[in-house]
């Protein structure tokens, strides 16, 4: 009898433990970086040092390799990076510039980093520029890449993750900046707002520029009735960029309208370009819009203008229908009164 009870007790305990044990969690990666960009302007000679942080947000330790990877502006002109392939020639005057760039942890040069669960580490970027360094821009990311090993025990795909900190390094003295508005467009006839403006700025110089500006909108009487502030953005040397309005970058701006211009590409994919939005809803008659872009201190702003027409066809058609009905009722009443 006692033995029965003991067996029952052991079976119950074992089954409880088996059933109640939580399932094993699959490995995950969670990396954070701060700040999200470093823009460095230097004149030789300079010994640049600046701090940034990388964080492991997961519950498991992460070992990451640190790489410097050059990029150029993505052809989508929306500020995304396009990493160069390993054999691509490095952009910029000095092909060996990366030898002068180091990532350090507590003043020790590191090429890998071990982050414990939820650990955040402060690292520093060191760039030594000697007096003979030629003027040039260099665009690269500091990449933190996990090193997954292919699992050969099952048929599987192992995923690795990485996070990049873009760095825009500009070594002067810089030449004269040159930029232009290559596209400023809106629908010619528009039924109602908001009005999307496509603004593309081309940087013809060899150095990146930070552009800012606004759109001024006037009605048919020449009165200024709208102003759209544009988001200040970086335009890399010899590239273009579409510019959205400032409100779209404000997480707390509840009235912000996120908008894209969608273009079909030849390969069947779609290109989404940010646009600036004027959030006016009722439009009537011709409007004149002018975009004004500042791109360098001491340089006059570049401008471009366009005209669009507010034609509220929905309002007109609805008005005509209501007017027709009223006329019809009026005629019928008139006929009845005559009879």
């Amino acid at each position: 009898m006692k033995l029965d009870k003991l067996i029952f007790f052991l079976l119950l305990t074992t089954s409880y433990l088996l059933l109640a044990t939580p399932a094993a969690q699959a490995a995950s990666i969670d990396l954070g970086i701060s700040p999200p960009i470093l823009q460095i302007q230097a004149l030789p000679p300079a010994n640049i040092q600046t701090a940034f942080a990388v964080e492991n947000g997961s519950d498991e330790p992460i070992q990451a390799t640190i790489e410097l990877r050059p990029f150029r502006a993505n052809p989508s002109d929306n500020g995304e990076v396009s990493y160069l392939k390993p054999n691509d020639p490095l952009l910029g005057a000095n092909p060996t510039i990366f030898k002068k760039i180091q990532v350090r942890e507590n003043d020790r040069v590191v090429t890998t980093i071990l982050l414990g669960p939820k650990q955040k580490k402060t690292l520093s970027l060191h760039i030594g520029i000697d007096s003979r360094e030629s003027p040039s821009d260099y665009y690269f990311s500091i990449l933190f890449l996990t090193n997954p090993q292919a699992n050969t025990e099952t048929s599987n795909t192992t995923t690795g993750g990485g996070i990049g900190l873009p760095v825009l390094l500009s070594i002067g003295p810089k030449g004269k900046a040159a930029a232009s508005v290559t596209e400023f467009s809106a629908p010619l006839i528009i039924d109602h707002g908001p009005v999307p403006f496509t603004i593309k700025v081309a940087n013809k110089g060899s150095y990146y520029v930070t552009v800012s500006g606004h759109i001024l909108i006037k009605n048919m009487f020449g009165q200024l009735i709208g102003k759209v502030d544009l988001l200040p953005v970086n335009v890399l040397g010899q590239s273009s960029r579409n510019i959205p309005d400032k409100k779209q970058a404000d997480e707390n701006e509840t009235n912000a309208l996120t908008a894209y211009k969608i273009e079909d590409k030849e390969d069947g994919t779609q290109l989404r370009s940010p646009v600036a939005v004027w959030p006016e809803s009722f439009l009537l008659g011709p409007y004149h819009a002018e975009v004004i872009i500042n791109y360098a201190d001491g340089q006059p702003p570049v401008k471009k203008s366009l005209t669009f027409i507010g034609l509220p066809t929905t309002v007109f058609v609805s008005g005509l229908v209501i007017l027709s009905i009223l006329l019809l009722i009026h005629r019928k009443l008139k006929t009845r009164l005559r009879n």
Partner: protein, 247 residues
């Protein structure tokens, strides 16, 4: 009486096991609580920007980006016009995509979730590459990247893959929160290849966003299908996702 004692003992024993041995759910929730604290006004970096002749203490992080300078240089950290305290963050929910046993003409689909928070940067992109095609290291046999039903999908162009007689390995992206999947996946049967870095193919964006936001999620579906003539064995490769803020 003895019966009652035995039952009481068992119940107490099980309760003790529950409390002492098994990990509690609350611990996990508490780690989530850390996440909430991180959203507050805590600095993520404290450091010094220095030149030969001066030193400047800086604080970089969720509070304020800034302009720091030393001899002959200026560093602008972060975007001055974006006031968000959310740092740029990227996560992958599951790094081990196990296909199990691949039976001929029975496609296997496995998924994981990519999450991006980009409150501190206006836009981002997540690019993907594969180390090579799914390969059996024992004999060198491969499961090729899919070309989809009509033989026309590539690493940049998507196409329908529904036939069980179309073999290979590919992926698709579905929005979970937000609309950040790369284009080409609006039809639920469309797939692409991963860019093969061993063939010199360029990384391709699988996910991108052109505004600020937090916890934007997409689901990546990995699909593998083999023919009856596929050599038996274990096939594997490595996919690398890299998230980068826009400049």
């Amino acid at each position: 009486m003895l019966k009652l004692l035995t039952i009481t003992f068992i119940v107490l024993f099980l309760l003790a096991q529950k409390v002492i041995i098994l990990p509690s759910v609350e611990a996990f929730t508490m780690s989530n609580a850390n996440y909430v604290i991180e959203m507050g006004n805590l600095n993520s970096v404290a450091g010094k920007s220095t030149g030969p002749n001066n030193k400047l203490g800086i604080t970089v992080g969720e509070i304020a980006p800034g302009l720091y300078s030393g001899t002959n240089f200026k560093v602008r950290a972060g975007f001055q016009y974006i006031s968000s305290i959310i740092r740029f963050r990227f996560s992958i929910s599951n790094t081990d995509i196990n296909f199990g046993v691949l039976d001929p003409t029975s496609p296997v689909i496995r998924t994981n979730i990519l999450t991006v928070s980009n409150g501190s940067a206006f836009g981002y992109s997540v690019t993907a590459t594969e180390s090579g095609q799914l390969r059996n290291p024992a004999n060198g046999a491969i499961i090729p990247d899919t070309t989809c039903d009509a033989g026309n999908c590539t690493e940049s162009t998507s196409a329908a893959w529904t036939s069980t007689l179309t073999f290979g390995f590919g992926y698709r992206c579905d929005n979970v929160t937000g609309t950040d999947c790369a284009s080409g996946f609006s039809t639920s049967t469309f797939y692409k290849q991963f860019p093969d870095i061993s063939k010199g193919e360029s990384p391709q964006a699988v996910m991108s966003g052109a505004n600020v936001g937090r916890n934007k999620q997409v689901q990546i579906s990995y699909k593998a299908n083999v023919s009856g003539t596929q050599a038996a064995g274990l096939y594997s490769n490595v996919i690398t996702f890299v998230a980068t803020p826009t400049f």
